[in-house]
Symmetry: C2
Subunit: 179 residues, 2 copies
DNA sequence: TTACCCATGTAATAAGTTACATGATTTG
DNA sequence: CAAATCATGTAACTTATTACATGGGTAA
Protein backbone atom coordinates (compact mmCIF):
# COMPACT_ATOMS: atom_id res chain seq x y z
CA UNK A 1 0.00 0.00 0.00
CA UNK A 2 2.81 2.43 -0.71
CA UNK A 3 2.02 3.68 -4.18
CA UNK A 4 -1.00 5.83 -3.20
CA UNK A 5 1.10 7.47 -0.50
CA UNK A 6 3.96 8.07 -2.86
CA UNK A 7 1.48 9.79 -5.16
CA UNK A 8 0.00 11.87 -2.33
CA UNK A 9 3.49 13.02 -1.41
CA UNK A 10 4.30 13.96 -4.98
CA UNK A 11 0.99 15.82 -5.38
CA UNK A 12 1.53 17.75 -2.15
CA UNK A 13 4.95 18.80 -3.38
CA UNK A 14 3.25 19.99 -6.57
CA UNK A 15 -0.22 19.40 -8.07
CA UNK A 16 0.14 17.55 -11.36
CA UNK A 17 -1.55 15.53 -14.04
CA UNK A 18 -1.05 11.81 -14.44
CA UNK A 19 1.62 12.06 -17.07
CA UNK A 20 3.49 14.77 -15.21
CA UNK A 21 3.48 12.50 -12.17
CA UNK A 22 4.86 9.69 -14.31
CA UNK A 23 7.69 11.93 -15.47
CA UNK A 24 8.48 13.08 -11.97
CA UNK A 25 8.46 9.49 -10.72
CA UNK A 26 11.01 8.61 -13.38
CA UNK A 27 13.55 10.97 -11.88
CA UNK A 28 12.72 11.31 -8.22
CA UNK A 29 10.35 9.36 -6.01
CA UNK A 30 10.40 6.54 -8.53
CA UNK A 31 14.03 5.82 -7.66
CA UNK A 32 12.65 4.22 -4.52
CA UNK A 33 9.20 3.29 -5.73
CA UNK A 34 8.97 2.92 -9.50
CA UNK A 35 5.57 3.11 -11.15
CA UNK A 36 4.31 3.07 -14.72
CA UNK A 37 1.72 5.46 -16.05
CA UNK A 38 -0.88 2.68 -15.96
CA UNK A 39 -0.38 2.17 -12.26
CA UNK A 40 -0.45 5.89 -11.62
CA UNK A 41 -3.69 6.49 -13.52
CA UNK A 42 -5.38 3.60 -11.77
CA UNK A 43 -4.26 4.88 -8.39
CA UNK A 44 -5.31 8.45 -9.19
CA UNK A 45 -8.77 7.13 -9.97
CA UNK A 46 -8.95 5.35 -6.64
CA UNK A 47 -7.63 8.32 -4.68
CA UNK A 48 -10.23 10.55 -6.34
CA UNK A 49 -13.02 8.05 -5.66
CA UNK A 50 -12.05 7.85 -1.99
CA UNK A 51 -12.00 11.63 -1.60
CA UNK A 52 -8.29 12.00 -0.97
CA UNK A 53 -7.61 14.09 -4.04
CA UNK A 54 -9.67 15.99 -6.59
CA UNK A 55 -9.31 17.04 -10.19
CA UNK A 56 -8.86 20.77 -10.65
CA UNK A 57 -10.86 21.20 -13.86
CA UNK A 58 -14.30 19.86 -12.95
CA UNK A 59 -15.25 19.71 -16.62
CA UNK A 60 -16.44 16.43 -18.09
CA UNK A 61 -13.69 13.84 -18.11
CA UNK A 62 -12.86 13.84 -21.81
CA UNK A 63 -10.30 11.34 -23.01
CA UNK A 64 -7.03 12.94 -24.04
CA UNK A 65 -7.61 16.06 -21.96
CA UNK A 66 -5.07 16.89 -19.31
CA UNK A 67 -6.43 16.51 -15.81
CA UNK A 68 -4.63 18.11 -12.85
CA UNK A 69 -5.06 16.78 -9.35
CA UNK A 70 -4.58 18.35 -5.95
CA UNK A 71 -4.59 16.78 -2.50
CA UNK A 72 -7.58 17.39 -0.22
CA UNK A 73 -7.32 17.64 3.55
CA UNK A 74 -8.50 14.04 3.84
CA UNK A 75 -5.58 13.00 1.66
CA UNK A 76 -3.11 14.94 3.74
CA UNK A 77 -4.50 13.38 6.92
CA UNK A 78 -4.24 9.92 5.40
CA UNK A 79 -0.64 10.56 4.40
CA UNK A 80 0.22 11.78 7.91
CA UNK A 81 -1.39 8.68 9.38
CA UNK A 82 0.56 6.40 7.05
CA UNK A 83 3.83 8.21 7.69
CA UNK A 84 3.64 7.51 11.42
CA UNK A 85 2.77 3.88 10.73
CA UNK A 86 5.43 1.21 10.89
CA UNK A 87 6.29 -1.83 8.87
CA UNK A 88 9.05 -4.35 8.44
CA UNK A 89 12.03 -3.58 6.22
CA UNK A 90 11.64 -4.90 2.73
CA UNK A 91 13.56 -7.98 1.72
CA UNK A 92 16.08 -7.66 -1.05
CA UNK A 93 14.67 -9.75 -3.93
CA UNK A 94 17.56 -9.29 -6.30
CA UNK A 95 17.55 -11.97 -9.02
CA UNK A 96 21.28 -11.51 -9.59
CA UNK A 97 21.94 -13.02 -6.16
CA UNK A 98 19.74 -15.97 -7.03
CA UNK A 99 21.74 -16.43 -10.21
CA UNK A 100 24.93 -16.70 -8.15
CA UNK A 101 23.38 -19.41 -6.01
CA UNK A 102 22.15 -21.18 -9.13
CA UNK A 103 25.55 -20.84 -10.80
CA UNK A 104 27.10 -22.66 -7.86
CA UNK A 105 25.01 -25.66 -8.91
CA UNK A 106 24.73 -25.48 -12.71
CA UNK A 107 27.92 -23.61 -13.60
CA UNK A 108 29.05 -20.02 -14.07
CA UNK A 109 28.55 -19.67 -17.82
CA UNK A 110 27.65 -16.09 -18.67
CA UNK A 111 27.84 -14.97 -15.08
CA UNK A 112 30.94 -12.79 -15.36
CA UNK A 113 29.43 -10.81 -18.21
CA UNK A 114 26.23 -10.30 -16.29
CA UNK A 115 28.08 -9.08 -13.21
CA UNK A 116 30.09 -6.71 -15.39
CA UNK A 117 26.92 -5.38 -16.95
CA UNK A 118 25.40 -4.70 -13.54
CA UNK A 119 28.59 -2.97 -12.44
CA UNK A 120 28.33 -0.57 -15.36
CA UNK A 121 24.68 0.16 -14.62
CA UNK A 122 25.26 0.76 -10.92
CA UNK A 123 28.23 3.01 -11.62
CA UNK A 124 26.04 5.09 -13.92
CA UNK A 125 23.26 5.31 -11.35
CA UNK A 126 25.72 6.29 -8.65
CA UNK A 127 27.05 9.07 -10.86
CA UNK A 128 23.51 10.28 -11.48
CA UNK A 129 22.78 10.43 -7.77
CA UNK A 130 26.03 12.25 -7.04
CA UNK A 131 25.22 14.76 -9.75
CA UNK A 132 21.78 15.34 -8.22
CA UNK A 133 23.41 15.81 -4.83
CA UNK A 134 25.86 18.37 -6.19
CA UNK A 135 23.00 20.23 -7.83
CA UNK A 136 20.28 20.05 -5.17
CA UNK A 137 22.24 19.87 -1.92
CA UNK A 138 25.37 22.00 -2.25
CA UNK A 139 27.72 21.93 0.73
CA UNK A 140 27.41 25.65 1.42
CA UNK A 141 23.69 25.24 2.17
CA UNK A 142 24.23 22.16 4.31
CA UNK A 143 21.20 20.78 6.09
CA UNK A 144 18.43 23.27 5.84
CA UNK A 145 14.78 22.61 5.23
CA UNK A 146 15.44 19.63 3.04
CA UNK A 147 17.43 17.48 5.42
CA UNK A 148 14.98 14.61 4.93
CA UNK A 149 15.11 14.66 1.15
CA UNK A 150 18.88 14.68 1.38
CA UNK A 151 18.82 11.66 3.69
CA UNK A 152 16.76 9.77 1.11
CA UNK A 153 19.25 10.63 -1.60
CA UNK A 154 22.10 9.57 0.67
CA UNK A 155 20.42 6.19 0.97
CA UNK A 156 20.38 5.86 -2.80
CA UNK A 157 24.02 6.86 -2.99
CA UNK A 158 25.01 4.44 -0.26
CA UNK A 159 23.17 1.54 -1.85
CA UNK A 160 24.66 2.13 -5.29
CA UNK A 161 28.11 2.52 -3.79
CA UNK A 162 27.65 -0.77 -2.02
CA UNK A 163 26.68 -2.57 -5.20
CA UNK A 164 29.59 -1.10 -7.13
CA UNK A 165 32.02 -2.30 -4.51
CA UNK A 166 30.46 -5.72 -4.08
CA UNK A 167 30.29 -6.34 -7.82
CA UNK A 168 33.93 -5.35 -8.30
CA UNK A 169 35.00 -7.70 -5.50
CA UNK A 170 32.83 -10.54 -6.75
CA UNK A 171 34.03 -10.26 -10.34
CA UNK A 172 37.58 -10.30 -9.03
CA UNK A 173 36.94 -13.49 -7.05
CA UNK A 174 35.05 -15.33 -9.78
CA UNK A 175 36.56 -18.78 -10.58
CA UNK A 176 36.80 -18.10 -14.33
CA UNK A 177 39.24 -15.30 -13.58
CA UNK A 178 41.87 -17.77 -12.49
CA UNK A 179 42.36 -20.52 -15.08
CA UNK B 1 9.99 -15.24 -12.97
CA UNK B 2 12.55 -15.83 -10.25
CA UNK B 3 10.69 -17.98 -7.76
CA UNK B 4 10.63 -21.18 -9.85
CA UNK B 5 14.38 -20.87 -10.38
CA UNK B 6 14.99 -20.25 -6.71
CA UNK B 7 13.07 -23.44 -6.02
CA UNK B 8 15.00 -25.41 -8.65
CA UNK B 9 18.25 -24.27 -7.07
CA UNK B 10 17.09 -25.28 -3.61
CA UNK B 11 15.88 -28.67 -4.84
CA UNK B 12 19.17 -29.33 -6.63
CA UNK B 13 21.02 -28.56 -3.44
CA UNK B 14 18.75 -31.08 -1.70
CA UNK B 15 15.46 -32.76 -2.70
CA UNK B 16 12.73 -31.67 -0.32
CA UNK B 17 9.02 -31.48 0.34
CA UNK B 18 7.07 -28.24 0.15
CA UNK B 19 7.20 -27.51 3.83
CA UNK B 20 10.90 -28.32 4.05
CA UNK B 21 11.49 -25.90 1.21
CA UNK B 22 9.51 -23.27 3.07
CA UNK B 23 11.71 -23.78 6.16
CA UNK B 24 14.89 -23.59 4.12
CA UNK B 25 13.69 -20.45 2.38
CA UNK B 26 13.16 -18.87 5.76
CA UNK B 27 16.85 -19.13 6.59
CA UNK B 28 18.74 -19.18 3.32
CA UNK B 29 17.58 -18.43 -0.20
CA UNK B 30 14.59 -16.61 1.21
CA UNK B 31 16.88 -13.88 2.53
CA UNK B 32 17.10 -12.72 -1.07
CA UNK B 33 13.82 -14.07 -2.40
CA UNK B 34 11.23 -14.61 0.33
CA UNK B 35 8.30 -16.89 -0.38
CA UNK B 36 5.41 -18.23 1.65
CA UNK B 37 4.35 -21.84 1.66
CA UNK B 38 1.37 -20.97 -0.54
CA UNK B 39 3.63 -19.58 -3.24
CA UNK B 40 5.94 -22.55 -2.97
CA UNK B 41 3.20 -25.17 -3.28
CA UNK B 42 1.71 -23.44 -6.29
CA UNK B 43 5.09 -23.21 -7.97
CA UNK B 44 5.91 -26.85 -7.20
CA UNK B 45 2.68 -27.82 -8.90
CA UNK B 46 3.60 -25.81 -11.99
CA UNK B 47 7.15 -27.15 -12.10
CA UNK B 48 5.82 -30.70 -11.87
CA UNK B 49 3.23 -30.05 -14.58
CA UNK B 50 5.88 -28.65 -16.91
CA UNK B 51 8.19 -31.64 -16.38
CA UNK B 52 10.96 -29.78 -14.58
CA UNK B 53 10.65 -31.72 -11.35
CA UNK B 54 8.91 -34.87 -10.18
CA UNK B 55 7.54 -36.22 -6.91
CA UNK B 56 9.54 -39.10 -5.50
CA UNK B 57 6.71 -41.15 -4.03
CA UNK B 58 4.43 -41.81 -7.00
CA UNK B 59 1.68 -42.92 -4.64
CA UNK B 60 -1.71 -41.21 -4.91
CA UNK B 61 -1.44 -37.60 -3.89
CA UNK B 62 -3.24 -37.81 -0.56
CA UNK B 63 -3.82 -34.58 1.27
CA UNK B 64 -1.64 -34.24 4.35
CA UNK B 65 0.98 -36.72 3.06
CA UNK B 66 4.52 -35.48 2.67
CA UNK B 67 5.61 -35.26 -0.97
CA UNK B 68 9.30 -35.04 -1.86
CA UNK B 69 10.43 -33.52 -5.14
CA UNK B 70 13.61 -33.88 -7.15
CA UNK B 71 14.82 -31.95 -10.20
CA UNK B 72 14.74 -33.64 -13.61
CA UNK B 73 17.28 -32.98 -16.34
CA UNK B 74 14.81 -30.62 -18.02
CA UNK B 75 14.69 -28.60 -14.82
CA UNK B 76 18.45 -28.44 -14.57
CA UNK B 77 18.67 -27.30 -18.19
CA UNK B 78 16.05 -24.62 -17.60
CA UNK B 79 17.94 -23.38 -14.56
CA UNK B 80 21.20 -23.22 -16.52
CA UNK B 81 19.44 -21.28 -19.28
CA UNK B 82 17.99 -18.81 -16.78
CA UNK B 83 21.29 -18.39 -14.97
CA UNK B 84 23.01 -17.18 -18.12
CA UNK B 85 20.14 -14.81 -18.85
CA UNK B 86 20.37 -11.14 -17.97
CA UNK B 87 18.06 -8.56 -16.53
CA UNK B 88 18.07 -5.10 -15.08
CA UNK B 89 18.96 -4.54 -11.42
CA UNK B 90 15.93 -4.36 -9.21
CA UNK B 91 14.80 -0.99 -7.93
CA UNK B 92 14.82 -0.45 -4.21
CA UNK B 93 11.15 -0.09 -3.19
CA UNK B 94 11.70 0.59 0.48
CA UNK B 95 8.61 2.22 2.06
CA UNK B 96 10.73 3.73 4.81
CA UNK B 97 12.35 6.01 2.27
CA UNK B 98 8.93 7.06 1.05
CA UNK B 99 8.00 7.87 4.63
CA UNK B 100 10.95 10.22 4.88
CA UNK B 101 9.81 12.04 1.76
CA UNK B 102 6.28 12.18 3.11
CA UNK B 103 7.51 13.39 6.50
CA UNK B 104 9.18 16.32 4.77
CA UNK B 105 5.66 17.42 3.77
CA UNK B 106 3.35 16.32 6.59
CA UNK B 107 5.72 16.34 9.57
CA UNK B 108 8.07 13.94 11.28
CA UNK B 109 5.74 12.60 13.97
CA UNK B 110 6.61 9.02 14.80
CA UNK B 111 9.48 8.95 12.34
CA UNK B 112 12.33 8.79 14.84
CA UNK B 113 10.80 5.77 16.56
CA UNK B 114 10.34 4.03 13.24
CA UNK B 115 13.93 4.68 12.21
CA UNK B 116 15.10 3.38 15.57
CA UNK B 117 13.00 0.25 15.15
CA UNK B 118 14.50 -0.42 11.72
CA UNK B 119 17.97 0.12 13.14
CA UNK B 120 17.36 -2.58 15.72
CA UNK B 121 16.03 -4.99 13.11
CA UNK B 122 18.91 -4.42 10.71
CA UNK B 123 21.47 -4.81 13.49
CA UNK B 124 19.92 -8.15 14.40
CA UNK B 125 19.92 -9.30 10.77
CA UNK B 126 23.53 -8.23 10.36
CA UNK B 127 24.48 -10.24 13.44
CA UNK B 128 22.65 -13.26 12.05
CA UNK B 129 24.52 -13.02 8.77
CA UNK B 130 27.87 -12.62 10.51
CA UNK B 131 27.10 -15.65 12.64
CA UNK B 132 26.30 -17.66 9.52
CA UNK B 133 29.54 -16.49 7.95
CA UNK B 134 31.57 -17.56 11.00
CA UNK B 135 29.87 -20.93 10.93
CA UNK B 136 29.75 -21.73 7.21
CA UNK B 137 32.76 -19.86 5.82
CA UNK B 138 35.56 -19.96 8.38
CA UNK B 139 38.72 -18.04 7.47
CA UNK B 140 40.94 -21.10 7.49
CA UNK B 141 38.95 -22.66 4.64
CA UNK B 142 38.89 -19.42 2.65
CA UNK B 143 37.37 -19.57 -0.81
CA UNK B 144 36.93 -23.16 -1.75
CA UNK B 145 34.05 -24.72 -3.59
CA UNK B 146 31.53 -22.34 -2.12
CA UNK B 147 32.99 -19.04 -3.22
CA UNK B 148 29.71 -18.10 -4.90
CA UNK B 149 27.55 -18.83 -1.86
CA UNK B 150 29.95 -16.76 0.19
CA UNK B 151 29.67 -13.86 -2.25
CA UNK B 152 25.89 -13.95 -1.87
CA UNK B 153 26.19 -13.85 1.90
CA UNK B 154 28.69 -11.00 1.62
CA UNK B 155 26.04 -9.07 -0.30
CA UNK B 156 23.59 -9.57 2.54
CA UNK B 157 26.19 -8.47 5.08
CA UNK B 158 27.10 -5.41 3.03
CA UNK B 159 23.50 -4.34 2.59
CA UNK B 160 22.65 -4.73 6.27
CA UNK B 161 25.82 -2.90 7.24
CA UNK B 162 24.83 -0.08 4.92
CA UNK B 163 21.38 0.23 6.47
CA UNK B 164 22.75 0.20 10.00
CA UNK B 165 25.12 3.02 9.17
CA UNK B 166 22.60 5.06 7.22
CA UNK B 167 19.92 4.70 9.89
CA UNK B 168 22.33 5.77 12.64
CA UNK B 169 23.37 8.84 10.63
CA UNK B 170 19.81 9.74 9.74
CA UNK B 171 18.53 9.42 13.31
CA UNK B 172 21.39 11.63 14.41
CA UNK B 173 20.48 14.29 11.86
CA UNK B 174 16.73 14.25 12.48
CA UNK B 175 15.32 17.69 13.35
CA UNK B 176 13.56 16.51 16.52
CA UNK B 177 16.95 15.67 18.00
CA UNK B 178 17.86 19.34 18.24
CA UNK B 179 15.11 21.30 20.02
C1' DT C 1 -9.97 -37.04 23.38
C1' DT C 2 -8.67 -32.70 22.95
C1' DA C 3 -5.20 -29.84 21.50
C1' DC C 4 -1.30 -29.03 18.89
C1' DC C 5 1.79 -29.43 15.20
C1' DC C 6 2.98 -31.31 10.55
C1' DA C 7 1.81 -31.04 5.81
C1' DT C 8 -0.63 -29.76 1.71
C1' DG C 9 -3.65 -27.14 -0.34
C1' DT C 10 -7.84 -23.48 -1.98
C1' DA C 11 -9.80 -18.84 -2.42
C1' DA C 12 -9.87 -14.05 -2.60
C1' DT C 13 -7.57 -9.96 -3.02
C1' DA C 14 -3.99 -6.71 -4.07
C1' DA C 15 -0.13 -5.18 -6.67
C1' DG C 16 2.73 -5.03 -10.64
C1' DT C 17 3.62 -5.85 -15.78
C1' DT C 18 2.75 -5.80 -20.65
C1' DA C 19 0.21 -4.80 -24.60
C1' DC C 20 -2.95 -2.19 -26.71
C1' DA C 21 -6.66 1.65 -27.63
C1' DT C 22 -8.22 6.43 -28.25
C1' DG C 23 -8.51 11.30 -28.58
C1' DA C 24 -6.06 15.97 -28.74
C1' DT C 25 -2.33 18.86 -30.19
C1' DT C 26 1.62 20.13 -32.52
C1' DT C 27 4.81 20.10 -36.51
C1' DG C 28 6.73 18.91 -41.02
C1' DC D 1 -3.00 16.32 -44.10
C1' DA D 2 0.17 12.94 -42.32
C1' DA D 3 3.06 11.76 -38.63
C1' DA D 4 4.69 12.37 -34.18
C1' DT D 5 3.83 13.39 -29.57
C1' DC D 6 1.00 14.37 -25.54
C1' DA D 7 -2.33 12.53 -22.55
C1' DT D 8 -5.51 9.31 -20.59
C1' DG D 9 -7.09 5.20 -20.27
C1' DT D 10 -8.65 -0.61 -20.83
C1' DA D 11 -7.64 -5.39 -20.76
C1' DA D 12 -5.23 -9.46 -19.83
C1' DC D 13 -1.95 -11.60 -17.26
C1' DT D 14 1.42 -12.69 -13.65
C1' DT D 15 3.05 -12.41 -9.05
C1' DA D 16 2.53 -11.73 -4.15
C1' DT D 17 -0.22 -11.51 0.14
C1' DT D 18 -3.68 -12.88 3.45
C1' DA D 19 -6.97 -15.80 5.26
C1' DC D 20 -8.84 -20.02 5.55
C1' DA D 21 -9.59 -25.36 4.84
C1' DT D 22 -8.39 -30.26 5.35
C1' DG D 23 -6.27 -34.31 6.91
C1' DG D 24 -2.74 -37.02 9.61
C1' DG D 25 -0.04 -37.95 13.58
C1' DT D 26 1.41 -37.23 18.46
C1' DA D 27 1.43 -36.11 23.20
C1' DA D 28 -0.83 -34.11 27.48
Amino acid sequence: MSLPHAILTALLEKPSSGLELTRRFDKSIGFFWPATHQQIYRELGRLEASGHIRALQPSGPVRGQKKEYEVLSEGRAELARWTAEGDAPRAVREPLLLRLRAAAVVGTDGLAAELQRHLTLHRAQLDDYLEIERHDFPVEAADGENRLQHAVLRAGIGLEAFWVQWLAETIEALPSDRP
